[in-house]
Amino acid sequence: MMFYALLVASVLVSDLAPVDFDSQVLPVLTYAGCNAGACHGAAAGRGGFQLSLFGSNPDADYSAIVHFAEGRRVNLSEASKSLVLTKPQGILDHGGGTVLGDSSSSVAVLRRWLEEGAKRGKEKQLKQLRVVPVEAVAEKLGESIPLKAYAQFSDGEEIDVTEWTVFHSTDPASIEIKESPVRAVCYRPGKHLLTARFWNRIVPLSVLLPYQTDRKLALQPAGSSGFVDTEIDIQLDKLGLVGTAVADDNAFFRRLRLDLTGRLPTPEELREFQVSSVSDRRVKKIDQLLESREFSEFWSLRLARLFRLRGSQEEPQAAAAYGQWIRSSLESRRPYDEMIREMLTATGDSHVVGASNFTRTARDARAHAELVGSVFMGTRIQCANCHNHPFASWTQDDYHGLAAIFSRFERGRFVQVKKMGAVTNLRTGEAASPRLPGQHDLEDADSAPGQFANWLLEKDNLHFAKATVNWLWDAMMGRGLVAGVDDFRETNPPSHARLLELLADDFVDHGYDLRRTLGWIAKSAAYARSRGRQTDAKELEAWYGATVARPLMPEVLLDAIDDVLFTSEVRQSEKGKRAIEMLDPAIPFPELDALGRCSRSENCQSTSQQQGLASKLLAINGALMNRRIADRTGRLQRALADGRPPEVIILEFYERALSNRPSDTQLALWLGELKGMSREAQTRWLEDFVWSVLSSDEFASNR
């Protein structure tokens, strides 16, 4: 092992060439953690010593080390007395403790660099960081997988940098990194992600250990979405998992109806679906629902949540116009890219021009850039405000450049583009020039938003298409192919990279049609699967081998409660509108708030609706459920007043709420309890029964 370390060290500290600052010293600082966000890499530095995050700015770092602090950090006459050595070695008091061992090769590199005069050397860039293996497959528990890293610099040479690469496992209980030689040891089955960081670059790698190696992939249920299931099944096969069978008609129809239209199926619809003799009735039903008015109604709410539509009490007309614009765009099947282009560039009276309200959603240019990054590019670009994004390729210039694109908007009622307006690039302290992220600066500031839209929506730019199809996948499947719909980055790779690409390509090639992509997903066997068994549900759900339960949105839940408890005539006269039609969360609706309505101040996904005990107290003692159950005009009290037998009532509520029938034993149990009860007692019994059905997890989730 010793020999190995020396061998690698000799590559970096070769006798031939002087130590290079960019390609050798900075990697040592990264390796030792000196320039991490928690240490000197923090935006404000640490202990008066500031480095760029992970050595992303060599010029600044060279100055910080060699020139600042009156040059005390380097001692050219006596290298070993330099602060850059004595502090990390713990010889002098160091807030970060001892991070470099005296005889480590890191110290050797630093010392030689100092002895050679602490020169900057030739500027170098890291062109590529290659790790081997990128995708490893382990065969048994406890297996060791050797890891290597190679760096290619701008001057062409590729060298082994394993010694100065930090390999990291976020889950050491599943997979652990061991030193000398560097290797990963796998303790649990599954696909585990590791990262390798060298200098200013971080790349992911994965190790897969199948759950069952001996079991052959069982015959997957036939689906009609060829490529979707091919990709899903390949992964399941690799992992040694066998997906569940397709769900029965009732479960499938409830799932589909809720996902596509935000409504429960009625008993009549359920029966009609079951008795239909059409051979591909599921496919037909999917197509029919996608074309329905109810689809546009519900997906308007989904889009409003995505775009973070939020009006104000003073100006409800603005949000109303915005909502109408979304709804009519969906109804008229406008291509999604056209919608987005209009949102990015629209000006005018926001009470009339619905799309112009997108600009008003952001309070300023930076927020605008962050919103665009999150919603249209699936990325949290705000990390690049103060420093280059540590886990993605966005730089500070990209961030401030994107903000500069939107800096001329006036965000009042009349959205317009001003002649002036700028944002400061925090890196340079000067006005940022408008810049296409990851690309180049824009000459003409006036047309910048339009140019950005052109770039974003260009066919070859897959940021937008991938973010969009991933959002659709997340809505239908309970979790995005990239987990976290606004968290695309190199180190958070998709679970099924090829599938994401295929879906994105298809979306681009066929007119950015949301319905088409939703159709692919809904028609897949993966979408139709039933639940996992208690024993393997978690693994299966992680790989779409079993359906994933997801809580109903508060709006959908409230409508569902009303649909079960009231006939539509009563609802129409009482409230007029369904909760899912309330696109603007600023419209007061205390019952929706009590159920956890998303305020849209952030991404509605990340504000998970953790409500805790209060929500249960509300369910038990609150008016929301109790008042509706006791309502004389409601379905239960009417049925009782009409003298319907308890058995019929029980069956009806099962069917309306759960799209299901009780088992024979359960029905017998219920009826047994009711036997011999007075009518009055039966009424109370049935009220309690209905309460329990509507308070169950089964009712309040889609799976």
């Binding site: 990264t30 953690g33 991490a36 966000g37 928690a38 807030g95 403790g97 001892t98 991070v99 976020t170 889950d171 050491p172 209980a173 599943s174 599954g190 696909k191 585990h192 960081r197 992911p204 979790r479 987990a483 958070n492 679970s495 978690k538 759900e541 992680a542 994933v548 997801r550 809580p551 504000t607 998970s608 609706q609 953790q610 805790g612 005990l613 209060a614 249960k616 107290l617 509300l618 369910a619 038990i620 003692n621 609150g622 109790n626 008042r627 006791a630 759960l658 299901n660 359960q666 149990l669 109370r684 309690d688 309460w691 329990s692 059905v693 308070s695 169950s696 997890d697 089964e698 989730s701």
Partner: protein, 440 residues
């Protein structure tokens, strides 16, 4: 479910959405775990049995509270002067005359330093001890305490008065360990916690039946027998609380004497502190009391001292805090509860050393103060110091992770022990923090 370490974890249905993503693809931002070298001082078996966390939301100015400066230019000192306290050598702002009388019970940390100067992420760091950014959502102190100190008592073990903040949540521990927010104002004459009492026409027997039915229905769908189904623990908790009148009495502030009520001050924060004391007295583990409005970018005189009501006596943030805080410390002491009750007062950061043009101060995380009392903490001392103008730590810089480590240790929770995420990933309760040994 029972996992390897014997800690029982529960998986709430909402968590399933996250589990998948964490299971195999998550990445932590704490990638750069520099090799630990410092030795760790760990105090186990702290004597505090419960905790009251006073959360000063928005970031209180250290210079106008616990770290006033003398002999500095006026734009640094601000409009107020330091005053002496009962402990020779320790001075507080003149806005804290009552607190000056209980300073012998306080350990004032004046060198807390954090890199985060934005509200949301800064208060996550302060309330969890972890910097945000990893895909794991870390639990707050209260949730860890609730999970650690399991209680069968009907009152929730972690209560927030009067309202919660997202960073006070349970993170990966799941919402059954999250705070119960009373969501109403204890200072109002008609104060009561919502939905604690039966809906008209529904009684205890019917609730029992509803609970039984609920199990039957969940069981049917999972193809299990009702005996094998566990209800959402939050549902169980809610049913029990509703059914225990004695527990609900904790919320009846009217049982306190007029003298006690006015001692804490009639405003929301005062009555909230009084409620916190009542809850702790009845066995609640951790109560967070929120005082909002500390984000004082404008006019310190109005916001911190006078208040905006036009009252003759100052009713601003600091006098309100001063009265309630000193009353709480005094009351706990007189009731012999202080030794076993850790009280911590903190916000997400301090304020800029120099006044801005609006006569206010902006966000300043580089140095600020946090105050500890009770729970075995040695009072009458200042720990660490900021520099002459309150800009940077002068000595003994203390990180939010150190604070978390210290709070856990004082509460008898081993900060090095691990919690298990729903997908089985072990996470240390505290990462990189050190116990502030001067505390005991």
């Amino acid at each position: 479910m029972q996992n390897r370490s014997g800690i029982v974890t529960t998986t709430h249905r909402r968590d399933f959405l996250r589990i998948g993503s964490l299971m195999t693809l998550g990445i932590s931002s704490q990638l750069m775990s520099a090799k630990p070298a410092m030795s760790r001082t760990v105090v186990r078996n702290g004597k505090a049995k419960s905790c009251i966390l006073l959360w000063l939301d928005g970031g209180p100015s250290h210079l106008e509270t616990f770290d006033p400066k003398r002999d500095v230019p006026e734009e640094v000192r601000g409009p107020f002067q330091p005053i002496a306290t009962v402990v020779p050598g320790i001075e507080l702002s003149e806005l804290l005359p009552l607190t000056a009388g209980v300073t012998d019970k306080l350990a004032i940390v004046r060198s807390v330093s954090s890199p985060l100067g934005e509200h949301g992420i800064a208060n996550q760091y302060m309330l969890t001890g972890y910097q945000p950014g990893s895909p794991v959502v870390h639990p707050s102190f209260g949730a860890v305490f609730a999970q650690h100190r399991r209680s069968d008592a009907p009152l929730p073990n972690y209560i927030v008065v009067p309202e919660s903040r997202p960073s006070m949540g349970a993170g990966f521990l799941g919402s059954s360990f999250g705070p119960f927010s009373i969501a109403s104002d204890p200072a109002r004459p008609d104060f009561q916690v919502k939905d604690l009492d039966y809906f008209p026409g529904v009684d205890g027997d019917r609730l029992k039946r509803r609970r039984r039915f609920l199990r039957e229905i969940e069981a049917m769908e999972k193809s299990l027998s009702a005996g094998n189904v566990t209800l959402d623990p939050l549902f169980e908790k809610a049913f029990r609380l509703i059914d225990t009148p004695e527990a609900k009495r904790a919320f009846r502030l009217e049982e306190e004497s007029e003298a006690t009520r006015s001692r804490y001050g009639g405003r929301t924060f005062g009555q909230s502190c009084l409620l916190a004391r009542r809850l702790i007295e009845r066995g609640v583990g951790l109560v967070s009391v929120l005082q909002t409005g500390w984000d004082t970018h404008q006019n310190l005189i109005l916001s911190l001292r006078d208040g905006f009501s036009g009252a003759k006596v100052g009713v601003g943030l600091v006098p309100t805090f001063d009265q309630a805080f000193s009353a709480l410390i005094g009351d706990l002491h007189e009731r012999r509860m202080l030794d076993e009750t850790l009280v911590v007062a903190m916000g997400e950061f301090g304020r800029t050393p120099k006044l801005n043009t609006g006569g206010g101060r902006d966000h300043w995380p580089r140095v600020f103060s946090v105050v500890f009392a009770g729970g075995g903490v040695r009072g009458g001392q200042v720990i660490g110091a900021s520099d002459r103008i309150g800009e940077s730590p002068l000595e003994r810089p203390i990180t939010p992770a150190d604070l978390a480590n210290t709070i856990y240790s004082l509460l008898g929770i081993d900060p090095d022990s691990e919690l298990i995420t729903p997908d089985g990933r072990p996470i240390r309760i505290n990462q990189g923090g050190h116990f502030i040994s001067e505390m005991v």
